[in-house]
Symmetry: C2
Subunit: 177 residues, 2 copies
């Protein structure tokens, strides 16, 4: 499964998941490998260190996989965006469009201080909807988005453009489905 | 919010969430603090290092917050248990009872090799349902559960007994609601 030891070799491509025509990029083999986890976390840290974030923000559930570990390696804290009703304290919310219907993310209103430097993170950048929602939540609280960092970018989708003017950083790039 | 700098001082207690009579132990202030995140991860690592796990396993969503970071600090990999339909490859499943109704967790069938030493992790131990489900998934794949590690233990609930004979390790213990 680990192939040539490159990061890409730890990613399993699953055709027709979650629906026909989509190739799902499965990061579970990378996480399950101590070497894959170390290599990817180290590379993600190097890619984002110069952004000097105070906080990394990620959304449940897959944004939690690398977000806190990356925050720790950067000497930052981690802010959790969750689905409605999961956070117990006072929250702000952002509703955004998906291919079909809408989705909502909530964030504790004290999760990010005014002026904080915030790195937006998710495991995968596709059309950018989740990451844009995270940027909006950060800005509602007066934080400054210093960049967006992903493990994987699906570069044949318009996610990078959707996140402009924020800089996008990604470890692994797929140019076609 | 950070009080005296102890780990407990980073936990926010929210009365009557998610329902009347329950005091919710909110770890978001701990995660949001670089110091709180570092102190808790370091302590969790020290608590479990001698177990020498090959793999840490955690369930979505809150088991993903510390699981991969802990795995990385222990030199292990991380296995993800998810809700039905979220994992793209061949899975095994375990159904378990909750206070009302049942829940199901799935795990990729190649997530854990036979004989692997596995540390079961979640952020909080209450009645032990989720952690027991994780133990069952590990054992279905021939793995050896070497212990269960939590950030928080609600010691007035029977979670520790429910996990016997597995050893339970927890950083923060609450003896009453």
């Amino acid at each position: 499964m680990t192939g040539d030891g490159s990061l890409e070799s730890y990613i399993r491509s699953v055709p027709d998941f979650p629906k026909p025509g989509i190739v799902f990029r499965d990061i579970t083999p990378l996480l399950a490998s101590a070497q894959g986890l170390d290599t990817s976390l180290t590379a993600l840290t190097e890619l984002t260190r110069d952004l000097r974030p105070d906080i990394v923000i990620g959304a449940e559930a897959r944004g939690f996989l690398f977000g806190p570990a990356l925050a720790h390696k950067l000497g930052a804290g981690f802010a959790l965006a969750r689905k409605p009703g999961s956070l117990p304290h006072r929250t702000i919310r952002h509703e955004y469009s998906l291919e079909y219907g809408t989705s909502v993310l909530e964030l504790h209103e004290d999760a990010i201080g005014a002026g904080a430097r915030v790195l937006v993170h998710d495991d995968l950048l596709a059309t950018g909807g989740t990451a844009r929602a995270l940027c909006s939540l950060v800005e509602q609280l007066g934080g400054e988005v210093v960049g967006c960092a992903f493990l994987i970018e699906l570069a044949f989708l318009p996610g990078r453009a959707a996140l402009a003017p924020h800089d996008v950083h990604a470890l692994i790039r797929y140019d076609e489905e």
